[in-house]
């Protein structure tokens, strides 16, 4: 499937998943759809038939509330039946809104309490190094999430240990629950901050699949440092009324009517 079509399909399935519950983390799920499309169509070395393969690449979705977007991508890759998308957050589901390593094939780390993913990813990357496995570990962190101090403990450690198979994406959609990130607690200049911590850094348009692909390919060329790619994104991207909703799009409804309208836009 063409990567742009894949991204569109991820958005459709993300909304299907959240629609099954009536509401959920729409904004931050839609903002990472293009990144997930690039990762799962061009970069992630994974085998849906063997989701725990030792040599696989791993993804830590540190902004664990964007689970529906990851579930959309994983279902499209064949990790589990698409029907599972309709079970989001129902008691006993394999798909909780915040990702869980023990419940969902293809999920490589539990996340939801923000700020822990980068540290966990450091552990996964160290484990690969100890085993002599050449996999990449990808991490997706929200821009607001960077307000959690533990990220910077993880960043310091990753650089100190020269974890150059660790690639961090910051989903810079510039919003968080209480408002615009720059008003709540400004964390810019993100790229400069990671560079100061010893990362190889880039900044790209997070909705330009070719630009994301190029940035990842370039990161893989740089040895001896962990990588950070700041992606400028739009919260709710792909559906006009979500894109213009403001910070409320973080957690909002997907009613029958909204779902039908959104699917039309994503046709």
């Amino acid at each position: 499937m063409d990567v742009k079509q894949f991204a569109k399909q991820i958005r459709r399935n993300t909304l299907r998943c959240i629609h099954s519950q009536g509401s959920g983390h729409v904004g931050g799920s839609l903002s990472i759809a293009d990144l997930l499309a690039v990762l799962y169509s061009k970069h992630m070395r994974v085998d849906p038939a063997n989701p725990k393969s030792e040599s696989r690449d791993k993804l830590v979705l540190s902004k664990g509330h964007a689970g529906p977007a990851l579930y959309a991508a994983l279902s499209l890759k064949g990790f589990f039946p698409e029907e599972w998308l309709d079970t989001l957050n129902k008691l006993g589901t394999r798909l909780p809104s915040h990702v869980n390593i023990n419940l969902t094939p293809g999920v490589d780390m539990t996340a939801g309490s923000l700020g822990q993913g980068l540290s966990c990813a450091c552990g996964l990357a160290l484990a690969d190094r100890l085993k002599g496995v050449d996999g990449y570990v990808y991490v997706i962190i929200g821009d607001g999430e960077l307000q959690e101090g533990q990220n910077w403990e993880g960043a310091m450690f990753a650089a100190h240990k020269k974890l150059d198979r660790l690639i961090v994406f910051v989903d810079s959609n510039k919003m968080q629950i209480d408002g615009l990130t720059e008003n709540v607690l400004n964390i810019e200049d993100i790229q400069a901050k990671f560079a100061a911590f010893g990362f190889d850094t880039q900044r790209a348009n997070g909705h330009d699949c070719e630009a994301i692909d190029r940035a990842i390919a370039q990161a893989k060329q740089t040895c001896g440092k962990p990588h950070c790619i700041v992606l400028d994104t739009v919260k709710g991207k792909g559906v006009s009324f979500y894109e213009t909703m403001g910070p409320g799009v973080h957690s909002t409804t997907v009613t029958d009517e909204q779902y039908a309208l959104a699917l039309k836009e994503l046709d």
């Binding site: 780390m109 939801g112 484990a127 403990e153």
Partner: protein, 308 residues
């Protein structure tokens, strides 16, 4: 021998046999005694600096890849500062992390106040899947380590780094989840955990001199509690005194009374810290001030026997 020497010696032996064991320190490898391991196993010993939250999650990532990581620090920094990391990345995530807390309770002595913690057993016990060990002496620690490595699920282990009173000898067999019966008696049950076992033993000797027969259990595994041993003893004596280097809330006393109140209502009392702030001091002064001496065990046992 100092417990840290027993610990590191046995851990080195196990690391030679098992390449999945990794250790992590947060700037206390020197204080904790793990430093020699860094020379023999440079790849599997990870110094993270003063960053316990990071250490906990790195360990979770290593465990998710099949390793058995041991994380170390003083009790409050490893079991309290990183509590949410333990909750989400270790407990909820079901990772085989070994959380090792040095110098529990009063054993912090001159580093007390900020470094002293009386609530670690309560918090760790409250997680549904974290096993909790309160180690009695160095021999028990050494004998427990092979099991600690192979246990499935997260585990919290608290022990004193330096020399403690020795209870057990080389014939000691560690049985996870089982109490060690130190005295067989019929008048009163005394259940002690960790280093308080020694004080309980001294008190039991004195009680026996006074003609009181003591059923004495030493508990290393506070969770899961040896329910059978506790109820059998309580049924026999009808009086249970718990003895612990911890707050009266939620530790050994909590575990024992939660069990007995539901299954076998029994007169109980505790030698434990009663809502008192942490502080500095030498070990004997601290134990006296918190009411954790052998004399306190004797007095409370006597009073419990006189209760109707």
């Amino acid at each position: 021998m100092e417990l840290r020497k027993e610990y590191v010696g046995e851990l080195a032996r196990l690391m030679r046999q098992n390449d999945k064991i990794v250790i992590l320190d947060a700037d206390l490898a020197g204080a904790g005694g793990t430093k020699p391991l860094y020379e023999e196993f440079p790849d599997r010993c990870i110094e993270v600096g003063i960053a316990e939250a990071n250490m906990t999650c790195i360990a979770a990532g290593l465990a998710a890849s099949g390793f058995v990581p041991f994380i170390h620090s003083f009790v409050p920094f490893v079991a309290r500062r990183a509590l949410d990391q333990i909750a989400v990345s270790v407990s909820y995530s079901q990772q085989n992390v070994r959380i090792v807390g040095y110098d529990p309770g009063v054993h912090t002595t001159s580093n007390g106040g900020t470094h002293m913690s009386f609530e670690d057993v309560a918090t760790m016990r409250a997680f549904c899947n974290i096993a909790v060990l309160d180690i009695v002496d160095g021999i028990q620690l050494r004998k427990a380590l092979p099991y600690i490595v192979q246990h499935q699920g997260p585990m919290y282990i608290r022990f004193v780094r330096k020399q403690t009173d020795v209870i057990f000898d080389e014939n000691y067999v560690f049985r996870f989840g089982k109490a060690d019966k130190l005295r067989d008696g019929k008048d009163i049950t005394i259940i002690a955990s960790g280093t308080m076992t020694f004080d309980a033993l001294q008190a039991a000797n004195k009680l026996e001199e006074a003609g009181i027969s003591v059923d004495l259990l030493s508990i290393h595994t506070v969770k899961p509690l040896d329910e059978q041993a506790v109820t059998e003893s309580a049924r026999k004596t009808g009086r249970v005194l718990t003895v612990e280097n911890h707050s009266i809330h939620g530790g050994l006393y909590g575990a024992v009374t939660e069990l007995l109140s539901a299954q076998l209502p029994t007169l109980c009392d505790a030698v434990a810290v009663r809502d008192k702030l942490t502080q500095v001091g030498n070990l004997n002064d601290l134990k006296r001030d918190y009411g954790l001496t052998a004399d306190d065990v004797f007095d409370r046992a006597t009073r419990l026997l006189n209760r109707r």
